[in-house]
């Protein structure tokens, strides 16, 4: 059977896939609960499917003794009448198992809701993510973009909001998705367990560049995380020999982008204070590199058609200087 051979093929492929954005490779409590529920569903539903196909095959291959259209079916129909009840009972039993399983998984997703947790604000924009951490030391929010760091083994409470249209926050290895809805604020608890890099992506169609609205997720030990957060909280240190780049940035880019510790206060685009410490550029569009930054500055509309980042006419030397400046903002 076609679908079954596909299933086998799929299993083989899954074993070899990258798994940085997959519900089948759970790396957190919430994704783990859903993963267990998924396999319960597969087993129950797969069993029902096999019963249906077996019944169909039996119905077609059975030796028949009836001879005419108008022949009497009362005897066999009496047996089949009982079959209706058996079929209904099997379905109801299967559904009962699944509904109870679903309720239990749902409880697991919200098990941490009463506990205190680290707060992170995530705001969706067309097409990038503003991410703000509550500074453990003070009353301010530490802002970054398109890269989420999470301490392993601790629960992080993500507050989801949107600045424009509906988006959906999805890090499948850690938890299920939840929408970012203008005028509303949703909360999602994440309890990652396994350290490593994962990938999240917007899951609700949000316009032209919905496909390029991803973000990187780093799950790390609490100590590493604390150090990272402290680093993100510091102002930018202007790299050596980058006065020209900083000047060009202040004139051309600072209206939209902020770099803490400089006079760049723009809020329309992502904060760039520690951009070079991130793993990718433009919400997962390009890997982070000096060349990538320069290409992005020169040709944003070619790399991500429709992005709000305009093509700013800079001389080659100026573009080079800005890229060098940004590449130094670790």
């Amino acid at each position: 059977m076609n679908s079954r051979s596909m299933a086998l093929l799929g299993m083989v492929l899954l074993a070899g896939c990258s798994g940085v954005q997959s519900p089948l490779v759970p790396s957190g409590d919430q994704a783990g609960a859903l993963h267990n529920l998924f396999w319960l569903m597969v087993v129950v539903c797969g069993g029902i499917y096999l019963l249906v196909i077996a019944g169909l095959a039996w119905g077609l291959m059975r030796v028949r003794r009836q001879s005419a259209t108008t022949s009497d079916h009362t005897a066999s129909d009496k047996r089949l009448d009982k079959g209706v009840w058996v079929a209904a009972a099997v379905i109801v039993a299967g559904l009962t198992v699944l509904i109870v399983g679903s309720f239990l998984a749902d409880r697991a997703l919200f098990a941490t809701r009463g506990q205190s947790a680290m707060m992170v604000r995530v705001t969706g924009y067309q097409w990038w993510w503003r991410i703000e951490y509550r500074d453990p030391a003070g009353n301010r929010w530490i802002e970054t973009a398109n890269e989420l760091h999470l301490p392993a083994g601790r629960t992080t409470r993500v507050q989801l909001g949107s600045a424009d249209v509906i988006h959906s926050f999805w890090v499948p290895n850690v938890a299920g998705k939840l929408d970012l809805i203008p005028g509303r604020r949703n909360q999602l608890d994440l309890t990652p367990r396994r350290e490593g890099w994962f990938r999240g992506q917007c899951a609700e169609f949000c316009g032209t560049q919905h496909a390029h609205m991803a973000f990187d997720v780093k799950v790390e030990s609490p100590a590493t995380f604390d150090a990272w957060l402290a680093g993100q909280g510091r102002n930018a240190t202007t790299p050596a020999a980058s006065e020209r780049g900083q000047g060009v940035f202040a004139q051309n880019c600072a209206a939209c982008h902020g770099i803490r510790g400089t006079l760049a206060y723009g809020r329309a685009g992502p904060d760039l204070t520690h951009i070079a410490s991130r793993r990718s550029i433009a919400a997962g569009t390009l890997p982070m590199s000096r060349g990538g930054l320069q290409g992005w500055i020169a040709q944003p509309q070619a790399l991500k058609p429709g992005t709000a980042m305009p093509t700013i006419p800079l001389s080659a030397a100026d573009a080079n200087a800005v890229a060098q400046y940004l590449a130094g903002l670790k």
């Binding site: 019944g55 108008t70 109801v92 998984a105 997703l109």
Partner: protein, 629 residues
Amino acid sequence: MTPDQRRIDQLDATWHDAPGLWGFLTTVDHKRIAARYIVTALLLMFLAGMLALDMRWQLSVPENTRMSPQLFNESFSLHGSTMLFLVSVPVMEAMAIWLVPLMLGTRNLAFPRLGAFSFWLYLGGVLTLWIAHALDITPDLGWFEYPPLSGPSYSPGHRADIWAQMITFTEVAALAASVNVAATILKMRPPGMTLARMPVFLWAMLVSSIMTILSMPAIMLVTSMLIADRMVSTHFFAPASGGDVLLFQHLFWFFGHPEVYIIFIPATGFVSSIVETFSRRPLFGHSVLVLAIMAIGSLAFGLWVHHMFAVGLPRLGNDFYTAASMAIAVPAGLQIFCWIATMWSGRPWLATPMLWMLGFVSTFVIGGLSGVMTASAALDLQLTDTYFIVAHLHYVLVGGAMFPLFGAFCYWYPKATGRLMSEAWGKLAFVLIVGGFNLGFFPMHFLGLMGMPRRVYTYPEGMGWDLLNQVATAGSAITVMGGLVFVANALVSYWRGRPSGPNPWHGSTLEWAVPAPTPSWNFAYTPVVSSLTPMWDEGPLKVVDGIAIERREVLVTTVTDAAPIYRQKSAGPSIWPLVSALAVTAMFLGSIFTPWAIPIGAVPIGAALTGWFWPERGRAKTGPFAVRA
């Protein structure tokens, strides 16, 4: 009773359409109207299928730049809007418009001119969307255009208006068709066809028509609110001014979920008819099937929130909708059981229509079970808006509705044309379509589980999605080839097919009593029914006389017992349905650009309707009133 030639000539004279173009524009013959509906829908299915193939080509390799994001977004929006609003729902109504009067032994629908009006308005919706596409104002936000993305701030221009107004067209057309079908089934059954003796097909059409009448107002309301937001700044969906974006989703899915069953329930009617005929025994579990259809029809209105599990609604509600959504597996499962039991206790004959039923069961059940998975409010958080959903919705809509439709097409094709389709080519098309479909869509379950979101125009390398996407593309291409074989078979058979005679499959219901192709008046005498399978009863079909043949007249019976109560004049050909549809079209199109189109456009509509309903001097035309008593 065999009618004599004089009676046939008189019926021809009474029921014929004017020749040529005028007859084409004025006809109220339900068979001609339905044929137009079906041909239009199949043509659109081909066009939307080409869009799908184009998108599959784009996705066959990562980082593909063949399509721009704008073009891809337009393609999936046009594909989804066309398939759901202009193909699936209308084609099911068209099958009802064609078959319901035939299965009832009557000569036309309850409201013949409303049937014509419904088609012309549907055509208006089709042309609105596709001419807009030719003019590059294609909707580009998917088949459900959530605000604020579809609101005035994020979608300037008229793309979203075209989408919203296309829906208004098709929904008015659908309401007209549904009212017509429901009234016909309830009031025009032949003597003896009590509700208890009504074939499952008619129950399916009745229930889906009533569902259409109950659910369509919600979508017309919500798209009108969207247009009002866009045109006169009403702020229904603007959170900054006190509106709520979720209101749109609730109203949309209050229609959108029943819509799935409005497509699926007629398909269960096809399946019931075909399984009965090709198992060569009366359908097992008639009452179970009817009750299952009613249960699905009722439950369908109580589970729209399962499209919204990821928006963060209160959890108690989510639990309720989880249970309600899963509960629909009970009636659906019992239907499957009854069909298999019918085959098991009958003598299955594996002609092409029956093969499609096997394809339906083995494919649709996968879609039903993946539906059970997504019905879980918890698990849906991992599945919704991924390729798992793309797989699921195609398994239910294609496997659950299109496969039965293709089977129904092969099954009733001889009734419409008088010729049989080729079995050999039909089987080839079946293998290519069912095989290609499963090859194309089964891998999408895995793509979703590997994290691929839906509605992305490209994806990065290294995600492990490449091979499965290529398999999916290959499967889609095979399906399209199968579709071409199917269409070629239908076209060639139209001229070259073997003559079928009136009842080539030895079918059980009344439509097989009329000659093929069917004359404009359908039945020379009104049949009388004493069982669920009148064509399989002993002896010739019993009939009653008394319905006029020198004027258009039909028999009206009681709702429950189908006891004859009176003869009813049946409206003849008229140009007014077309004129009215044109006037409505002008108003709908105008209201994309200015709110003044509504008051000003109402004037020609009023004029056209006045012409339509202008009283006819019945006495002068039809003789003394006493004759009609």
